[in-house]
């Protein structure tokens, strides 16, 4: 810890040198890890209980749902777009999955443990399908009607919120569940739950997809210069469709994750999450202008976001001040990276 602390402190003083050294690996990621370590040290000094497996589990459980939509958002942002519907998709897909499991499969909240696995698997498929469908609607509005992504996804966000209230009457729908999936596997020693491990695998696969495949290359190309990408023979419309479909499907996956966490599908369970996702992407170093962004940045960005939120509760910051502190930290994280980039280029 202290070593990392010194490294973080040094990196502020000898910025250009450290930047040159770490640029061998990933420059951006090193800064974000430094921020994370620094935050952990500060919170742990102010509240020793922060440095615990329980806290790590709390943070990772929060991270699980948002990192899924943030990873999808990373693709969308790199392609030069934005997806505001992902929070509402969490609510809608969770409600539709819960409705399917309770109304069609007849499973109420007393169905638990191993009995729930099969039912939850069906719920997961339904949830992802709902997200995928909304993603395709987004792509359709953007491609066919040339509606800018901000407005197209704002419209589907409203529609998703509306449909989830219609289906649920505004109340949570409870059905089969197993909370063991979401709680730490060994509360004293291991902060990773099965759900968090599953999310990490998905994130790793999608990350490799972005950085190692032609699909990823096309995404960067379209975001950097759409005309050039078209000129190079990329079917831009078809690619954009895939990007929004991926973002929607990942939001659907986040929907079943939140369902498992709450034991119910609730229409408001994604409220405001689109902004958390965008914050994670931006903290992670992606540019809202398109063409720039990395999955590792987003993963660490989401981790920083929830470390801060957890830390502020743990050290007892008054609730009205929490939002202000989070806002300042986001601005600081982004500003730090902009400066880092400038220094790195010198």
């Amino acid at each position: 810890m202290t070593d990392s602390n010194q490294t973080a402190a040094k990196s502020k003083v000898q910025n250009p040198l450290v930047a040159r050294l770490t640029s061998l690996g990933s420059n951006q990621s090193a800064v974000l890890v430094g921020v994370l370590v620094l935050l952990t040290i500060v919170f742990s000094i102010l509240e020793p209980k922060f440095l615990s497996v329980a806290t790590a589990n709390n943070i990772l459980t929060d991270w699980g749902s948002v990192v899924l939509i943030a990873v999808g958002q990373t693709f969308v942002v790199i392609s030069g777009g934005i997806d505001l519907s992902v929070g509402a998709i969490i609510g809608l897909s969770g409600v539709v999955a819960a409705w399917t499991m309770s109304e069609i499969m007849g499973a109420d909240q007393s169905v638990k443990g191993a009995d729930s696995y099969g039912i939850l698997a069906v719920g997961a498929i339904v949830s992802v399908a709902v997200g995928l469908f909304v993603g395709l609607v987004n792509a359709f509005l953007i491609n066919k009607f040339k509606i800018v992504p901000f407005i197209a996804t704002l419209a589907t966000m409203g529609a998703c919120l509306g449909f989830s209230v219609i289906l649920s009457n505004g109340m949570p729908i409870g059905s089969a569940n197993d909370f063991a999936l979401i709680s730490a596997m060994a509360p004293k020693t291991n902060p990773f739950s099965w759900a968090v491990i599953a999310v990490s695998v998905v994130v790793a696969v999608v990350g490799l997809f972005l950085h190692k495949s032609r699909f990823g290359l096309y995404t960067y190309a379209i975001g950097s210069n759409t005309f050039a990408a078209r000129g190079a023979g990329i079917n831009v419309e078809r690619h954009i469709t895939k990007v929004y479909a991926l973002s929607g499907a990942l939001a659907g996956l986040a929907g079943i994750y939140v369902y498992i966490r709450l034991g119910a599908g609730s229409p408001s369970s994604g409220n405001g999450r689109e902004l958390d996702a965008i914050a994670a992407v931006v903290i992670g170093g992606a540019s809202l202008m398109g063409g720039v962004g990395r999955i590792m940045g987003t993963v660490l960005g989401a981790l920083i976001l929830f470390t801060v939120q957890s830390g502020l509760i743990m050290i007892g910051v008054a609730p009205d001040w929490k939002k202000v502190v989070v806002a300042v930290l986001i601005a600081a994280a982004v500003a730090a990276q902009t400066l880092q980039n400038k220094n790195g280029r010198k």
Binding site: E47, K49, S52, A54, T55, N58, T61, D62, S65, D108, Q109, G162, V165, N169, G170, M171, P172, I173, G174, F179, I182, S183, V258, R261, L262, G263, A264, S266, S268, S269, G270, N271, G272, R273, Q309, S310, I313, M314, G316, P319, D320, K322
Partner: protein, 291 residues
């Protein structure tokens, strides 16, 4: 009425329909689907008045902005009642029927004290989950809870409050962190349906069901089922259907006889639903989804 999507108003609608059928009167039920605001409500009230009803049950979304609508109705010879919320000047209003959120907060403190086996001289750590700093029902419930703690249960220490922003997952996050920070936490007051869902899930995931007292609010069917499972110590329920039934009964009585036995202002108390509450009462207070 207020926001149509709110389960509270859905339950109220059902009560209104029942009573209208029992009294043999026709009910016109109108409201904005999701906005609770005078901007959307005033045109809706105007449209309803144009249909020339005999009586109007109004749930004003703003005490000042809807005053003119009441005057307009009375000038047209329409009898007006207020339910849940009121206009500033009740002179022209036949009766104002509402639930008591402060009383609900006090009942929550009582239920929590009973669960933790409150004894004078000992101290107990309690936290409160709210949805925001400005929701008026949240504020009234919090005031009621604090007043009861100050007067009757001084050993209860309110360690922290946090906001869920209407998102049950954020409510679960708050509770998770509290459980880590306060290993001796005695109880949680989850001030509305969203916080109740999130807090219940957090206790289940941490395996602390029954060990930490949890008093929630709002009788969503999913939460009512969790009283039996021992997850909720108590759920404080309002009775929106009773408010609507009494309002319609009063209007019909006044229109037919020219007088009414209902008082000018009626407060229908909140009730605490616990494991001891009878099945019939649980069913009575559970919010029912309207069709």
């Amino acid at each position: 009425m207020g926001a149509e999507s709110d389960p509270f108003f859905q339950a109220m609608k059902l009560g209104a329909e029942e009573e209208a059928a029992a009294q043999g009167v026709t009910l016109i039920w109108q409201g904005d689907p999701s906005n609770y605001s005078p901007e959307t409500q005033i045109p809706i009230v105007d449209a309803v008045l144009a249909q020339q009803p005999t009586g109007l049950v109004l749930i004003p979304t703003d005490p000042k902005a809807l005053q003119a609508s009441v005057a307009k109705a009375v000038a047209a010879g329409i009898v007006v009642a207020n339910v849940d919320t009121r206009v500033e000047d009740l002179t022209d209003v036949l009766t104002f029927i509402t639930g008591d959120n402060e009383d609900g907060g006090a009942k929550a403190a009582e239920a929590l004290a009973k669960k933790i086996g409150y004894t004078d001289g000992k101290t107990y750590e309690v936290v409160i989950g709210l949805t925001s700093a400005t929701a008026t029902t949240n504020v009234a419930r919090l005031e009621g809870f604090k007043a009861a703690v100050a007067s009757t249960y001084p050993g209860i220490q309110i360690k922290d409050v946090a906001y869920s922003e209407s998102n049950p997952e954020k409510a679960a996050t708050n509770v998770n962190n509290w459980l880590t920070k306060y290993p001796n936490l005695a109880g949680i007051f989850a001030i509305d349906g969203t916080n109740a869902s999130g807090a219940a899930a957090a206790l289940e995931a941490k395996g602390l069901v029954g060990k930490v007292g949890l008093v929630g609010y709002d009788a969503y069917p999913d939460n009512v089922a969790k009283i039996k499972a021992g997850i909720f110590t108590a759920l404080i329920a309002q009775d929106p259907a009773a408010e609507a039934r009494l309002a319609i009964k009063t209007l019909v009585e006044f229109i037919k006889t020219g007088k009414t036995s209902t008082a000018k202002e009626v407060v229908i108390p909140n009730v605490a639903l616990t494991a001891e509450t009878s099945e019939a009462d649980l069913a009575k207070y559970t919010y029912v989804a309207g069709k």
